[in-house]
């Protein structure tokens, strides 16, 4: 049976809606809980006060 264009656009709207909901679920379930807060101060800390890898290793080994 031939479907009308109106019905097709309704189906496509449903598909897009479902996709948005699925993306939101994936975001909420897997990404948002792992949020890493980064701002200018933390970037400055990371870049300018980072401990070199070799010292980092020594510290971890000493623990």
């Amino acid at each position: 049976m031939k479907k009308t264009p109106r019905k097709l656009s309704r189906e496509l709207a449903w598909i897009i809606g479902i996709k948005v909901v699925l993306l939101l679920i994936i975001w909420k379930a897997f990404v948002a809980p792992n949020h890493v807060h980064v701002d200018a101060a933390s970037v400055a800390d990371n870049m300018l006060e980072a401990t070199p890898a070799s010292q980092h290793l020594e510290k971890n080994n000493a623990r």
């Binding site: 990404v31 890493v36 200018a40 870049m47 070199p52 010292q55």
Partner: protein, 516 residues
């Protein structure tokens, strides 16, 4: 511990990117073949061309449905694994990625919906328009991704701000028209066209070898041979352009690709084959062709291409300049009004990234020792042997495909390809080549950018999030497991429908009809 986090984050991104790129080229290429097939149907009204569009479209749909989700995880990783990178370059990198996501979502996905569900519901011309827009949307998605990637290779139109500790866009047009991005875009989409053409050519050859659906396969073979021949010629010409832009913007990458340890008098010779010895920083042996590298890399006979030893010497000077930039930045973070520090940062800003390379050797960059500077300068060169061989394997396979498509195109002009089983068998055997070339191309582009995420601006080891090794191993295992399942499903579906052939359409016009 930090080394592991960096390497694991890199490995995770590499795995997901390489896996995602198994699907992308086929999508980019197949979609234009569908446009060609459907256009012929609309113009001639011959039923077989609509059947071709629907059958190859079905394989395209399987590839798209399974592949599209794998790109999303890469965008998530920017936030989870590369948080410092995202902050540092988000102002520039975020814009094209956001446009790409919107374009993929609203244009590409909607048109794909119309393509699959719009048969018999739209007029022929309307449906063809939807297919064309689907192709345009797919290719425009690639454009925005490659503008973002091109900026990572050649960061133009942006400047570092010590107040916000990030790169800020100063010229959107420069980012958009970045020569690296443009060269990369046309080279990459052409490679996708070759992939699509090879896919159709190989499967059509298989039908012809088995004597199944002969008319359908002959017409598919012809379109794939012509489209593939034009595309493979484009890949080679545009690859040369891409190589030229690399020579302009990323001298370390070009020197590593060519295993060129010393600067030669212009025009430099091309190492056709060599055995790079990275410990000795020399080639154990090499077979060179005079002049060729100079002509390809500089398009002149008087410009020199710097060798690895000379680049390291230049980079030592840039690291020393970068040490002054880091010292000024440290002062400005304590006192934002220090005029002397502002002036010093302005003078040495372009070398800040080189100073930051020392962070892995000392916390006190401003007082780094000469051995530390030497080590950091050596780090600016990517591993030579993997680059050298990846590039040569890619080019070798590309040339093989050029010969194949030239033969296939010639035979299709003559109309005698059906009587050439060797050609058909070769076409079938060459099916994996475009994928291997695409993956190797990404290795050359991305591995060759190391030790930077943003070339000359942001070292990779300062880009990663502060995650635990355990969580990285966990998510890596999850990705590998999930993607392996997707790959198996894709292969099984592809094999099933390719085996059934156009009979899977259930029209009653082909061999191996399935019940409907």
């Amino acid at each position: 511990m930090l080394d592991n986090v960096v390497d694991l984050s890199r490995l995770q991104f590499a795995v997901t990117a390489l896996y995602h790129f198994l699907f992308v080229p086929l999508t980019i290429g197949m979609v234009w073949l569908l446009v060609i097939m459907e256009s012929v149907w609309v113009m001639t009204g011959q039923q077989v061309y609509q059947d071709m569009t629907r059958f190859w479209g079905k394989l395209f749909g399987i590839n798209f449905a399974l592949g599209v989700t794998t790109g999303i995880t890469m965008e998530f990783q920017f936030g989870t694994n590369w948080a410092y990178y995202s902050h540092y370059v988000g102002d520039i990198f975020g814009a094209p990625l956001a446009i790409e996501a919107l374009m993929a979502f609203f244009l590409e996905s909607t048109m794909i919906g119309l393509f699959f569900f719009g048969w018999n519901r739209m007029s022929r011309k309307q449906h063809l328009l939807a297919t064309i827009l689907m192709a345009v949307g797919t290719n425009l998605s690639a454009l925005w991704i490659l503008i973002a990637n091109g900026w990572m290779q050649n960061p133009v139109g942006a400047e570092f701000s010590y107040q916000t500790m990030r790169m800020e866009m100063t010229d959107f047009a420069a980012v958009l028209l970045n020569p690296d991005a443009q060269a990369k875009f046309v080279h990459t989409v052409s490679a996708g066209y070759v992939t699509g053409a090879m896919f159709v050519l190989s499967i059509s050859s298989w039908y012809l070898l088995r004597g199944r659906n002969v008319e359908f396969a002959r017409k598919s073979f012809r379109i794939a041979a012509a489209f593939g021949f034009a595309s493979v010629c484009s890949v080679i010409v545009l690859g040369d352009e891409s190589g030229y832009t690399v020579g302009e913007a990323q001298q370390t990458k070009l020197a590593a690709i060519e295993a060129m340890w010393h600067t030669e008098p212009a025009p430099a010779s091309f190492n056709l084959l060599a055995w790079p010895n990275e410990a000795r920083m020399e080639n154990d042996w090499q077979i060179s062709i005079p002049w060729v590298m100079g002509l390809i890399g500089t398009r002149s006979i008087s410009k020199q291409i710097p060798g690895i030893h000379e680049i390291i010497a230049q980079n030592r000077l840039r690291i020393r300049s970068g040490m002054l930039a880091v010292a000024a930045l440290e002062t400005l973070r304590r006192d934002g009004n220090d005029l002397a520090a502002k002036a010093q940062l302005a003078t040495h800003r372009k070398d800040l990234g080189f100073g930051l390379l020392l962070k892995q050797y000392t916390a006190d960059v401003a007082h780094a020792s000469q051995p530390m500077i030497d080590a950091a300068a050596r780090d600016t060169i990517p591993r030579v042997a993997p680059m050298f061989w990846s590039f040569r394997l890619m080019v070798g396979m590309g040339m093989t495909m050029l010969l194949l498509f030239a033969w296939a195109f010639w035979a299709s002009l003559k109309g005698n390809f059906q009587q050439r089983p060797r050609l058909l068998k070769l076409a079938l055997c060459c099916l994996p080549l475009p994928w291997l070339c695409c993956e190797l191309g990404w290795v050359v582009a991305e591995y060759g950018r190391q030790p930077w995420t943003i070339y000359g601006v942001l070292p990779t080891r300062l880009s990663v999030s502060t995650l635990s090794v355990e969580s990285l191993y966990g998510s890596l295992a999850g990705f590998v497991g999930f993607y392996s399942v997707l790959l198996v499903v894709e292969m099984l579906l592809m094999l099933r429908f390719a085996r059934q052939g156009p009979g899977s359409l259930g029209t009653g016009r082909y061999d191996n009809e399935t019940a409907h």
